[in-house]
């Protein structure tokens, strides 16, 4: 009946798999580097892969530029890609000049926006992550905070700006305050969900070992929740970067949002378009950096 288990006595060594020294895949990729022996087919397949990953995005960007150029050529006041390119060359020749608080280089503006996001986001993490842990761990807290969060979360963070102005009496902390408000929800919710979804197996291990609460938090809960937390952080940063532009338009001062508004008042539309690209690129970089971080902390599929 169970022939396999009877005839398989001394097969212990089978379970310790030898690691292949050179994986076939690696060899295939490195092949084009060598002088081509019969490598014509391999070479063209690599080129095809590169082509497939580079060509479509390139087409997309070209399409964007074409539509933009077409719209600009139709007349109206939108400058075309070339005009913007020329303006950008001038602008980025000296991004960190400083002619007083109302006339600073674009570099300063981006940096001060990033600073506000950093501070507001930092406070949100300081409050939101522990709160998320508590909400996830205790059902009572979950039910207690649920109505509050459900009520406040859909509110645009800009609605909180006047409250910030009222409390802090200054524009700068008020903008940071809106960032705090918009960053905190994804952080609370994702952390709480992460805590609730810690696999029962891991909790059983904790119970059998009878670990103390500190060890449960540091050795089991925290590592297990970390991927969820990083997702929360990524969502928060994304929203914060969206909100800061709008907040700064309202509060003024130094910052990319204010800069956009200022350039609108100066009617330098090229600069507004440049700002749109800068905001987009910074947002993209933030997102990618956090994705990279998240990959570092994802543990294979157990």
């Amino acid at each position: 009946m169970n022939a396999a288990s009877i005839t398989s006595d001394k097969i212990m060594t089978m379970t310790s798999k030898p690691v292949p020294a050179t994986p076939a895949v690696a060899r295939k990729i490195s092949a084009p580097a060598e002088p081509s022996r019969s490598g014509g087919i391999v070479l063209s397949s690599v080129m095809l892969t590169v082509f497939k990953s580079v060509f479509p995005p390139l087409v997309g960007i070209c399409l964007l530029l074409a539509v933009w150029a077409l719209l600009a050529a139709e007349g109206g006041s939108i400058p075309g890609p070339l005009a913007v390119w020329e303006a950008a060359k001038v602008l980025f020749a000296d991004p960190f000049y400083n002619n007083g608080p109302n006339d600073m280089g674009i570099g300063w503006n981006v940096l001060s926006s990033l600073q506000r996001v950093g501070i507001g986001f930092g406070f949100a993490a300081l409050v939101g992550i522990p709160l998320g842990f508590v909400i996830g761990r205790f059902a009572f807290m979950n039910r207690m905070f649920e109505p509050i969060i459900s009520l406040l979360r859909p509110v645009s963070p800009l609605a909180w700006l006047p409250i910030g102005l009222l409390v802090f009496k200054q524009a700068d902390p008020a903008a940071t305050w809106t960032i705090f408000i918009c960053s905190i929800w994804p952080m609370i919710i994702n952390t709480a969900v992460g805590v609730q979804r810690v696999p029962q197996d891991y909790m059983n291990v904790a119970r059998v070992l009878d670990l103390d609460e500190w060890k449960i938090v540091t050795r089991i809960l925290f590592p297990s929740v970390l991927p969820y937390m990083l997702t929360g952080i990524r969502l928060s940063i994304g929203t914060a970067w969206l909100v800061i532009v709008a907040a700064e338009m309202l509060t003024g001062g130094v910052g990319i949002g204010f800069w956009v508004w200022d350039e609108w008042n100066n009617l330098k539309v090229e600069h507004i378009i440049i700002a749109i690209f800068v905001i987009g690129i910074v947002g993209l970089l933030l997102e990618q950096a956090l994705l990279l971080l998240a990959r570092r902390f994802s543990y294979g599929n157990s």
């Binding site: 288990s5 006595d9 089978m14 197996d201 119970r207 059998v208 009878d210 670990l211």
Partner: protein, 264 residues
């Protein structure tokens, strides 16, 4: 006769479900002696894992009581180590760290770091995993993970080792080699073991006693088979051993004649 390690007295388990009460286990009486290897076998859904969880303390009985080494079982504890079916290693810790976590809990107050580490390494060496001390669980095969799971349990020097279908998720060849390894470890340590399985060969090969469970709901102990095969046991020699064949037949008869599973 050795002293009694675990005594199960009229234990029953009833779950509250949406459809009302569900009686999983009833009238379980069982006593397990020190150094004994007891297997729980039965069709799926017969409550054998529930009984193991009761001994582990991961669940508490709704009637009757369980005693381990003179004390009532009121919750899980490291003196009753569990080897889980899906190994349950923590993926962010290396093999060594996984074992160390358990070792630190049990011996951390009395022993220094080097001693604890030596214990963890010795346990991994016992299951022939000393080559992968610093590997993460996702870097090793399923069989190796289960070895580490077994090492973690043994390293705690528990009074009793509870195994819930420890080899169920492994292929037949890997399973056989782990069974042999477990047999070896048993002979070295003389541990008390309760194992849940649905593999007839595995049960006969490893056990001193096999507890056959009736079908659920309201499952209970049907028959108990004493396996009096000499140790150490050799898989190949036993294949032609008449006693072994008899024991196997008795199990098969119980499972497929007396407790025919209704078509699922």
């Amino acid at each position: 006769m050795n002293k009694t390690m675990v005594k199960v007295d009229k234990a029953g388990m009833t779950f509250d479900t949406k459809k009302g009460k569900f009686v999983a286990l009833r009238d379980i009486d069982l006593s397990i002696s020190e150094g004994e290897f007891v297997t729980l076998i039965g069709h799926s859904g017969c409550g054998k894992s529930t009984l193991l969880n009761l001994i582990a303390g991961l669940a508490l009985p709704t009637s009757g009581n369980l005693i381990c080494d003179g004390r009532e079982i009121a919750g899980p504890g490291p003196e009753r180590a569990v080897v889980f079916q899906n190994h349950s290693l923590l993926p962010w810790l290396t093999c060594l760290e996984n074992v160390l976590l358990a070792v630190e809990r049990v011996f951390g107050k009395k022993e220094g770091k080097p001693k604890l580490r030596a214990r963890a390494e010795a346990a991994l060496e016992m299951v022939h995993m000393d080559h992968a001390l610093h590997k993460y669980p996702h870097e090793i095969s399923g069989g190796m993970k289960q070895r580490v799971g077994i090492a973690r349990a043994f390293a705690m020097e528990p009074k009793i080792l509870l195994m819930d279908e420890p080899f169920g998720a492994l292929d037949a060849l890997t399973r056989a080699s782990l069974q042999d390894e477990l047999n070896g470890v048993m002979e070295k340590t003389g541990a008390t073991v309760v194992m849940v399985t649905h593999d007839v060969d595995e049960a006969v090969l490893l056990s001193d006693r096999i507890v056959m469970m009736t079908n659920g709901p309201a499952a209970t102990i049907g028959e108990i088979l004493d396996v009096k095969l000499a140790r150490p046991r050799d898989r190949l020699a036993l294949a032609h051993d008449t006693d072994f064949v008899e024991y196997r037949a008795a199990l098969l008869e119980f499972l497929y004649q007396k407790q025919v599973r209704k078509a699922a």
